[in-house]
């Protein structure tokens, strides 16, 4: 009936996958690169925001509200708002993805550091820790599981959103999805979507493992 009805005889074409292994690898690297940069930059900014929020308590509510508002802007809209200023490609997507990580990371860092028991901090002070050393060696160290939990959620979220970035030319697995969509050809959609899910699950499991490794005390059954 329509021009679209040409290629949906099979759901998955193995020949297509065989012919595109190089491109699949290239898209994987782009996807990883964008995710890595977004979460990395997001972490630096969120850490700075958390310091401000911990130092001046009243700053937390506005910072959380701002990152919350940014978080609820749809990705395609945010990419589109940035494109006129940044052009198409990697940059608008990276900037938008960084803003999406802020809410998750800010909440987790502040909650993690807030959750460190008073008694531990007093003990550290009593042992003569300088404020900065105490922050790094005690506060931040004990907040590590919560912070890694935040990085985990942020990473998984960003991996899913990178696919949308293909619409403004960022590369990554979304290119396959977009390609399949425009040709009504399911194979690239399944490959792009499936690999994105696989990457998200792989990082999810990786961070669970890291979380366990960095908190030996929870395995030994000792209170933090």
């Amino acid at each position: 009936m329509s021009i679209f009805a040409t290629r949906h005889d099979r759901l998955l074409s193995w020949e297509w996958i065989g012919d595109h292994t190089d491109e699949i690898w290239e898209r994987t690297l782009q996807h990883l690169q964008l995710t890595g940069y977004a979460v990395g930059i997001g972490l630096v900014i969120a850490m700075a925001m958390s310091m401000v929020a911990l130092r001046w308590r009243r700053a937390y509510a506005p910072l959380a509200a701002l990152s919350g508002a940014l978080y609820s802007i749809p990705s395609l809209a945010l990419f589109a708002i940035l494109v006129p200023y940044t052009g198409l490609g990697f940059r608008p997507v990276l900037i938008a993805l960084v803003t999406y990580t802020l809410l998750i990371l800010l909440r987790n860092i502040v909650a993690g550091i807030d959750g460190v028991p008073r008694s531990v901090l007093e003990a550290a002070d009593g042992m003569g820790y300088e404020p900065w050393r105490r922050f790094l060696a005690v506060d931040l160290r004990l907040a590590t599981p919560a912070i890694i939990g935040g990085i985990r959620v942020a990473t998984v979220t960003v991996i899913g959103l990178v696919t949308v970035g293909a619409l403004v030319g960022s590369g990554g697995y979304g290119v396959f999805i977009n390609d399949g969509l425009s040709r009504n050809f399911t194979t690239p959609i399944i490959v792009g979507g499936g690999l994105s899910i696989a990457m998200a699950i792989a990082f999810d499991l990786l961070f669970v493992a890291v979380q366990r490794l960095t908190t030996p005390w929870s395995r030994a059954g000792m209170a933090p």
Binding site: S72, S75, A77, L78, T157, G160, L167, V168, T186, I197
Partner: protein, 235 residues
């Protein structure tokens, strides 16, 4: 750039007609509303029953993780060929199906958790007063779960409104349409104008459902609920 957007917004032709912003916004809201309603109807009854029996913890955890890993773009894209095979055409139905799939987890998880978390002593007291199981659910557990359930609906609503934007890729005329067209035509004024409207619509949805939730459950301690409704994910 902003001047281009303002010029686009102040041009009457951008607002009226089949591809006008008024019609596109209406299409956007209509489909979002239908998908949200369908998700509530499908998710809430089983969630309440499972919560009442405290069965479904694993399912809930799985849903939370899966919904975060699932790229919305892939879901919408994948539904299209399937929709062709079922002769549903393009446009409304494929987008609707994808949106319902995406809206289900937050509603289900929050409704389940809300009922599952009700203080066991309160439930026992209700039974002790001679309530039947159906009454315990209806008169005690559901009202107690209401704040969390409302928070789940809110999360889903925002997510659906945001994701409907992508419906344009499968041929549904909505607020995503001028964005994609504008990018193709390098008409960035149009892109910016439509993107700002979509962003405003999401923020408005969030605020409206937040207010509705507070109205329905004036007794609720909202700050803690917002932190509990952590299934929200960016769209």
């Amino acid at each position: 750039m902003i001047e281009d957007a303002l010029a686009y917004l102040t041009d009457a032709d951008s607002w009226w007609g089949r591809n006008g912003l008024v019609n596109l916004t209406w299409n956007h809201v209509r489909l979002s509303g239908a998908a949200l309603l369908a998700a509530i109807v499908l998710a809430v009854p089983p969630a309440l029953l499972l919560g009442h029996r405290h069965r479904g913890g694993l399912l809930t955890v799985t849903l939370v993780n899966l919904s975060r890993a699932l790229p919305t773009f892939a879901v919408i894209a994948f539904v299209l060929p399937v929709s062709y095979q079922l002769d549903l055409g393009l446009g409304f139905w494929p987008t609707f199906v994808a949106l319902v799939l995406l809206a289900l987890p937050p509603v289900f998880v929050n409704a389940y958790t809300g009922v599952d978390d009700v203080d066991a002593a309160v439930v026992e007291a209700a039974r002790g007063m001679g309530m039947r199981e159906s009454e315990v659910l209806r008169r005690v557990e559901v009202p107690a779960a209401m704040p969390l359930l409302a928070a789940g609906v809110r999360v889903s609503a925002v997510q659906v409104v945001a994701t409907t934007t992508l419906g344009t890729l499968v041929g549904y005329r909505c607020l995503g349409t001028p964005i994609i067209q504008g990018i193709a035509e390098r008409d960035y004024g149009k892109v910016l104008a439509a993107a700002v409207i979509v962003a405003a619509l999401s923020l408005l949805t969030d605020a409206a459902f937040g207010a509705l939730g507070r109205r329905l459950t004036p007794w609720a301690d909202n700050p803690t609920i917002e932190t509990k409704a952590s299934v929200q994910h960016a769209t």
